[in-house]
Symmetry: C2
């Protein structure tokens, strides 16, 4: 069971899981992101991976008005790495990974899948509390206690976070080795109406910097 | 922040929270239950409590086909208490309380509310793994680690489960003391098209038995 957003990280995670021999069940959460390009990217990535199934769950999180990703607050632009690393970004969505993992857990139990893959990363976005190992371990404990499958010991749930200690460049290097087509993915927080990436938001800057450090060219087009 | 389903338990929990002096923010999750009577009941209960706000989050869990509450599987009828207490019921929805608490947590963080109330009960439905104290404590740990508010120590999240060790009769006695109008609530898993309770599913039987043991008459009408 892999959480697939359509971004660079989750596309890499899915490919890693497949390379490890897992049959992929992909879950995409449509939580009212400001644009649908990420969802389209998720469909492209799932198709390219030939996943066993790809489910999209819709959930309206507009009531969470504090986050730039679910509301009309402005996405910060042209910040340097230091500014990005300071504090928790405005793009933080309260309890998002808890919610995503809860959804994945329900589906994993239903499908009798013990292995959940999520593309959290503690390096570039150190500001997200729910991207750290302590959180993941705590959720693994919840998974064991919360489910029929966990309690009856049919399934020993494991949350896999193969990217957690990797830099963006490391992630891209790993994905390129495995043949991920990053041209299918979408990272930008603030794309043009045709879906072209802005090249200036934190997600674009981290991605571009990652490709540069890894020694590859990002196949995506950019506005700036 | 109180999870309000429209059932007897959550109506009692909300009243208990109010009696303890909390301002109520109610969250109802519309997860594709087979009937909408529960949602209507939640609205009635929220209005009667004069809550500060009542939000309904829609989430489509039809992909979880294994549960009788989210699919077309038959609801068991006329079971005795022993049969109900054996194993995990078919009305179990995989990871439901994990999901509900994740939604409540996001909203609680957004609203700067540290106290989450949920009407879980380990007595009548001992078969639900996510109604036990061990699960609740594990989720509390997740809440602390998953959130900006928890990590920055602005909020020390507490999951309140005032009903967890009470029998249905005890819950009803407590609610009656506090003046809960149980005529506003809905418990039946399999109501008629006009919303009348069946009187034969596990939820109706436990409710009716609880009222009888508590020495009160259930104000709801029943088919049988």
């Amino acid at each position: 069971m892999v959480l697939l957003s359509g971004g660079l990280d989750s596309a890499t995670v899915a490919k890693i899981a497949q390379a490890e021999g897992f049959e992929l069940h992909a879950l995409t959460v449509d939580y009212g992101q400001r644009h649908k390009f990420e969802l389209e990217a998720a469909r492209r990535v799932a198709a390219a991976l030939d996943v066993h199934e790809h489910l999209t769950v819709r959930i309206d999180l507009h009531y969470l008005q504090g986050s730039a990703l679910t509301s009309e607050r402005e996405v910060p632009k042209h910040r340097d790495t230091e500014a990005m690393a300071t504090g928790i970004p405005v793009t933080y969505v309260p309890a998002r990974n808890t919610l995503f993992l809860a959804l994945a857990l329900g589906l994993a139990e239903e499908r009798e899948a013990a292995n959940i893959f999520i593309g959290v990363n503690a390096v570039d976005y150190s500001g997200y509390p729910d991207c750290r190992t302590a959180f993941i371990k705590a959720f693994e404990n919840v998974a064991r206690l919360a489910t029929k499958a966990g309690v009856e010991n049919q399934l020993d749930f494991k949350i896999h976070t193969p990217l957690i200690d990797l830099s963006k460049a490391d992630i891209i290097r790993r994905g390129m080795e495995l043949g991920v087509d990053y041209g299918l993915t979408h990272s930008c927080y603030d794309p043009s109406t045709d879906g072209t990436s802005c090249g200036a938001c934190d997600a674009c800057l981290l991605r571009l910097q990652g490709f540069e450090e890894a020694g590859f060219t990002d196949p995506l087009p950019y506005v700036s």
